[in-house]
């Protein structure tokens, strides 16, 4: 890949990740439907995971897996494995939180028969 093109990619990748997070945050804050709020939260998580993996990508790097006849110097070429391990953890935790949030949505629907937060507001926000 060209270096000039790569520079554009710099802005494109981070910009997209942050934009996706912002869109998710917008959805979570503005939308009235409980399910929309959960969707917004899961979009934030997606953008964040992308940002973290992109952060420690190394140009021309390879996946951090040693194949049969690896060279001694090949660790220098490998991308950083730590953020990948962290994102792995974050994805699984995010799934657990989403599942709990959705079960709460089902509970609220059973009580109020609506998903609109304007009509659920028994407690003050």
């Amino acid at each position: 890949m060209d270096n000039t093109l790569f520079e554009y990619l710099d802005y494109a990748v981070y910009g997209t990740a942050i934009l996706v997070m912002a869109i998710g945050l917008y959805g979570a804050l503005v939308k009235k439907s409980l399910l929309k709020i959960v969707i917004g939260l899961s979009i934030i998580d997606s953008g964040l995971n992308f940002l973290i993996v992109a952060l420690n990508y190394y140009k021309g790097g390879t996946a951090p897996i040693f194949s049969q006849g690896y060279l001694d110097g090949s660790t220098k070429l490998m991308v950083d494995p730590v953020p990948q391990a962290l994102v792995l953890t974050a994805i699984v935790i995010g799934f657990g939180v989403t599942a709990v949030a959705l079960s709460l949505v089902i509970r609220l629907y059973r009580h109020h028969h609506t998903l609109n937060i304007d009509q659920i507001k028994d407690l003050k926000w």
Binding site: M21, N56, L104, L123
Partner: protein, 494 residues
């Protein structure tokens, strides 16, 4: 030494995985086993605290890799004190709620004790760990247990309160991850001591960015003002003992996390002032809102937020006296607020909406519970000769030493506000005529025992504060000595 700090996490996790199996053998075991685990942890915590007071901090390595590479746990006087406090409170909460779940079905009751145990384990993990990502994992463990416990009663609006909590909690975890990654991308390490020793290499811009994200994320859990929307609802909708667990255990762990970041990890100037400003705003707004509340548990929740504000103010002085005062406040608040939640939930046990006016004249029917509530109320306001007096005095002394007269006057004024709204409740309990329709429920024996233990502690500390001040002075000296912490962790030859 009888054990190592990792047992604080390993034993409860082992028990948590075992409980579903044990429940198949004998149903009562799901209630008993968490209590046994907590008793064991309390013995372990006291023993280790004694050891640490003499021999200095224990740094435990996990998976055999020395700190910058692997994860480590630090059991020092500071963290050990908090751990002991949390486990002790957890044991009392278990004792208090042991029997009152009789009217709940077996399945949810089984889950209640499991989740309560994991809530305590998560908080203990936050305090013990020496690794920022590991702290994130423990925060999530605490969070998920907290969401489930808030929504425990199906009859109330608890699901809505829990949804608010989960909403803010997810945002908090996103911000926290962002902050962690900014630090990692610069320093290539996740260990707290290692970060603290290298933080001066980072550009100030990045430091400020990650600091802001950290404070926002942890402020949600620690109830700092604009971010504490979840707290009053969660406290008032959750079962009574869970409210006590939030006030006494979860919030303490989050405050610890913020303090660890501001005192040990970041070396930015002006963070102390930030803490004072945030704490002051939180304190004033929460106390003003508390006076307007009509429901008992919401009032207690706002009072709890206000106390946390005061803790932040005390930490913000940045002096050893300030840290001492803050720790003393945290200790007192944990004990007293638990007592208030325990006794308060029996005062409004049978009412549906939990209004303060429904506590009218309860003193005649529940004399001991009302007395304990009054004791807690007097103590948290800071009247002598109860425990709360000494911590308020310590805050005022620390403020005077730092020449912050304005803050002294504000704290005194806020105390008057506190006095007003607590006395309002005590007045109703003792001197109003009881509503005939209200039924009363006597506390169970184990619930009473838990309350009496807390009441006894308040009186003992009130007359003999030296019982804890020795540990607190040592802990605050240790928190101030940042280089010692770094050295202790990093020069560990495994």
């Amino acid at each position: 030494m009888v054990g190592t700090p990792v047992l604080f996490v390993a034993i409860p996790l082992m028990a948590a995985f075992l409980i579903p199996l044990l429940g198949m053998i004998w149903k009562e075991l799901v209630r008993i086993v968490p209590g046994l685990v907590l008793i064991y942890l309390l013995i372990l915590a006291v023993n280790l605290l004694n050891y640490v007071m003499v021999h200095g901090p224990i740094v435990e390595v996990i998976a055999g890799w020395a700190p910058p590479i692997g994860i480590n746990l630090v059991f020092s006087t500071f963290s050990g004190f908090l751990v002991t406090l949390m486990v002790f409170l957890g044991l009392l909460i278990w004792l208090y709620s042991y029997r009152f779940k009789r009217n709940v079905d077996y399945e949810p009751a089984k889950k209640y004790f499991l989740l309560l145990m994991m809530l305590i384990t998560g908080s203990v993990g936050i305090v013990l760990t020496g690794d920022i990502f590991n702290m994130f994992v423990f925060i999530e463990i605490t969070g998920i247990s907290g969401y489930a416990l808030t929504a425990f009663y199906t009859g109330r609006n608890s699901a809505e309160a829990s949804f608010k909590y989960i909403f803010l909690g997810s945002l908090a975890s996103a911000f926290l991850l962002l902050a962690i990654m900014i630090i990692y991308s610069q320093l290539g390490t996740l260990n707290m001591a290692d970060i603290a020793s290298k933080i001066h290499l980072m550009k100030p811009g990045y430091k400020i960015a990650s600091m802001i994200f950290f404070i926002t994320a942890l402020g949600i859990e620690a109830e700092i003002f604009p971010l504490n929307g979840w707290a009053p609802d969660a406290y008032s909708e959750a079962p009574g003992p869970v409210g006590a667990a939030f006030a006494g255990i979860v919030v303490k762990a989050s405050v610890y996390a913020i303090i660890r970041y501001t005192y040990t990890i970041f070396d930015l100037t002006g963070t102390y002032d930030l803490l004072i400003i945030l704490g002051m705003i939180t304190l004033i707004i929460a106390e003003v809102l508390a006076i307007r509340q009509e429901k008992l548990k919401r009032m207690l929740a706002y009072s709890s937020i206000g106390q946390m504000g005061l803790v932040f103010v005390a930490f913000g002085f940045g002096t050893e006296e300030g840290v001492f005062a803050a720790l003393f406040l945290m200790f007192n608040h944990a004990i007293i607020k638990s007592l208030l939640f325990f006794s308060g939930s029996y005062l409004v046990y049978n009412s549906k909406e939990k209004y303060i006016r429904e506590t009218n004249g309860m003193a005649k029917y529940l004399p001991l519970t009302s007395f304990l509530f009054a004791l807690g109320a007097f103590s948290i306001v800071g009247l002598p000769p109860f425990a709360g007096f000494w911590s308020k005095l310590a805050v005022l002394t620390a403020a005077a030493d730092s020449n912050m007269i304005l803050i002294m006057t504000l704290v005194l004024m806020v105390s008057v506000v506190e006095l007003v709204y607590y006395m309002r409740v005590v007045n109703r309990v003792y001197f109003f005529k009881k509503d005939e329709n209200m039924e009363t429920t006597r506390p169970t024996y184990n619930g009473m025992l838990a309350m009496l233990v807390l009441g006894a502690i308040i009186i003992v500390i009130g007359f003999y504060p030296d019982a804890v001040t020795g540990i607190l002075h040592k802990a605050s000296a240790e928190l101030m000595d940042k280089s010692h912490y770094i050295k202790e962790v990093l020069t560990l030859n495994k």
